[in-house]
Symmetry: C2
Subunit: 463 residues, 2 copies
Amino acid sequence: MTHQDTIVALATASGSGAIAIVRLSGDEAISKADACFRSVKGGKNLKDQATHTIHLGHIVADDRVYDEVLVSVFKNPNSYTGEDVVEVSCHGSQYIQQEIIQLFLRQGCRMANPGEFTLRAFLNGKLDLSQAEAVADLIASDNEASHQVAMQQMRGGFSSEIAKLREELLNFASLIELELDFAEEDVEFADRTQFKELIERITFVLKRLMDSFAVGNVIKNGIPVAIVGEPNVGKSTLLNALLNEERAIVSEIAGTTRDTIEDEISIGGIGFRFIDTAGIRDTKDVVESIGIKKTFEKIEQAQVVVYLFDSAKALSELKVVQVEIEKIKNKYPQKPLLIIANKIDQLTDEQLALLQSQIKNVKLLSAKTGFGVEQLTNSLLDLINTGALRNNETIITNSRHYNALLKAFEEVQKVKMGLDADLSGDLLAIDIRQALYHFGEITGEITNDDLLGNIFANFCIGK
Amino acid sequence: MTHQDTIVALATASGSGAIAIVRLSGDEAISKADACFRSVKGGKNLKDQATHTIHLGHIVADDRVYDEVLVSVFKNPNSYTGEDVVEVSCHGSQYIQQEIIQLFLRQGCRMANPGEFTLRAFLNGKLDLSQAEAVADLIASDNEASHQVAMQQMRGGFSSEIAKLREELLNFASLIELELDFAEEDVEFADRTQFKELIERITFVLKRLMDSFAVGNVIKNGIPVAIVGEPNVGKSTLLNALLNEERAIVSEIAGTTRDTIEDEISIGGIGFRFIDTAGIRDTKDVVESIGIKKTFEKIEQAQVVVYLFDSAKALSELKVVQVEIEKIKNKYPQKPLLIIANKIDQLTDEQLALLQSQIKNVKLLSAKTGFGVEQLTNSLLDLINTGALRNNETIITNSRHYNALLKAFEEVQKVKMGLDADLSGDLLAIDIRQALYHFGEITGEITNDDLLGNIFANFCIGK
């Protein structure tokens, strides 16, 4: 594949900032930059500079000075893409960003497609496919867990585990294929007992990896939590209280997550998406009935249900609360349910005792005073099996990887059955090759243009 | 002033991008970075590296790998701020940006105040004050004209013009002050005729600069244009047609100005802000009367008024159109008024002739077919005296500079009157010193903390 034309894109976030970076990659990246760069030191050409050096100067074309810039030079193969790369660090006005990109387009560069820099890095062997995918995950990561998993994947943790299995399997496959060459002599290079052991081991690892996808999916996409509760039972106060637990950590940079406070909160490094619902009280009112139907739809989407009620108000209608709780339990016996009595600061000790005796497993909370918040965050985290994450085990988060593992698993099971049935080497070899194929799909040893197109289309432009 | 603690901030636009840059500046910038940077080549310390070099590695602290990064090292005085500067180019997730900034805060860096990097550049003599202000203007520039003016100012065009006047005045001032030392001998070192000539010249230049502020203000803030017109006369189509004229130029990068299409359009490199109004027909309806009042308020704010009407509809109510036009003219005799008949593609030649005879100075337009759009853009540009811009003359855009020039001008006038009245040298010297003071305010030779605080508070954090 020759992907050597020179591409250009804005590499930093769109919008206005102090500085912005326009990135070029390709055979002519340096000469295209030289064509419109005037070093302040005079007479210096970027092409004569060492790799990984930075040069102050101006972007100039047709006697017009576009900007004062710093230009970084990376020479192949020592760059992100493995090609010659130039990064122009300019003033961060959108106008300037655009003008400089357009200047390079006029110089004959081409606008980069989404993910094309990373695609080139993959094609030039700088990253394998799962590492390339981790780059996109890394950029999208918005909490500690998703960041940690993406970092591990980008640094090759997952690939190396797959590569190790693949190598061992490949080893056996070649022994079996060797047997085929000596078919008439009835030799057995591949020890069948050892081979069975290997297949057991691969099965075990594949199962573990596939199981980790449930956690991985939660880590990547956050855990949807439906909060069932009437207005004014204290949902916002609760969300703020949960947030404040974390807030101490992030307080030094204000406003970064402000927009989404109401919806998504990171607890213990895991993202929780809170879905607000109306209550589910029995009613004959048509409009309210629609509301109840919607509440159930939202519970359907959630992985955890939090039933929140105002404890002071509830004392006079304990029956109603009990009925609602039973209704949720009956309808969703599988979904973890947290029952939370808020505003307990307004109750006497006797009232508290009554509440606890009447409502099983109720958790006491005063979002206002902060009482019970820590217990609640612990309960939420307990619901998620984050053991794997804490033990630094490999976790898969990508459904493409999950599907490839599943297919590899199926082929490995066929191999296992074949071994048990004493199938001949040539038949075993077919299934082994299929399993190897699916392993190869993960790291990118096996690819096709459609697959690459799908993967990189989800990247942002500039990466 | 010792401003040497190490500051940190995100230098690129906030939000998620392929990469982001976290910038450190100060005495300990390099050692703070070294404390959490592990080069992939191993064993390399950033402090031992040459200035303007880039290093691949990981940000690591407490056994946790934060990100794979490129670190750029700039050693004082060869950096933007004139101090040691480190730029960490990390993956562009907001989470990673934040984590890395917080890590540096824990290392004892301090979050930078708005504009603090540029303030340090000024304090360290890398930029004068008007150049520093131009940095903020440059980042805010969103069209060719404002960009060009800010670039010129940042590159010192304006400062050097002021500095030249200041030097000449200073020269005379010292001669006059020398006379004071020899007061009893009645000598005249400063030739009064030459001095008068200088004062004339300074007056001329100051006037030109002050006059340029009207243009400069327009360039910096855009020209507010009120479009008076009933619904459905074709305002949106007109704005789109105006935009399309320019669109050819910017088509290669889609979507960059899409959000604000309705409001702000760059024509010939000048920003025009279109303010939509209701019509101003006579009415007895109370609600509509309020609308008319608002229309007049909007015209008040505008610098140009465009009266747009549907020519086909207008033929049956020419009187109404004439009355409305007269009303605007009478109320705002000073404001340029463009009268535009839209949808002329629907008229016969006879109807066109009638329209032109009945409505003076009407411009014909078919926003749909594009007829008349170019003439309209030319008319809009003609209204603005952009001669100075085209002739590459110095233009001032900053009201602080305008006020300082105005004060300098007043002092120079006093000097002039003093010369005409044959005032003694010591009295002249007082006024000259005042004029010099105001010149110095512009370039920052004269500053105080309040002034600096005001200027840099308007910067973004990270610059």
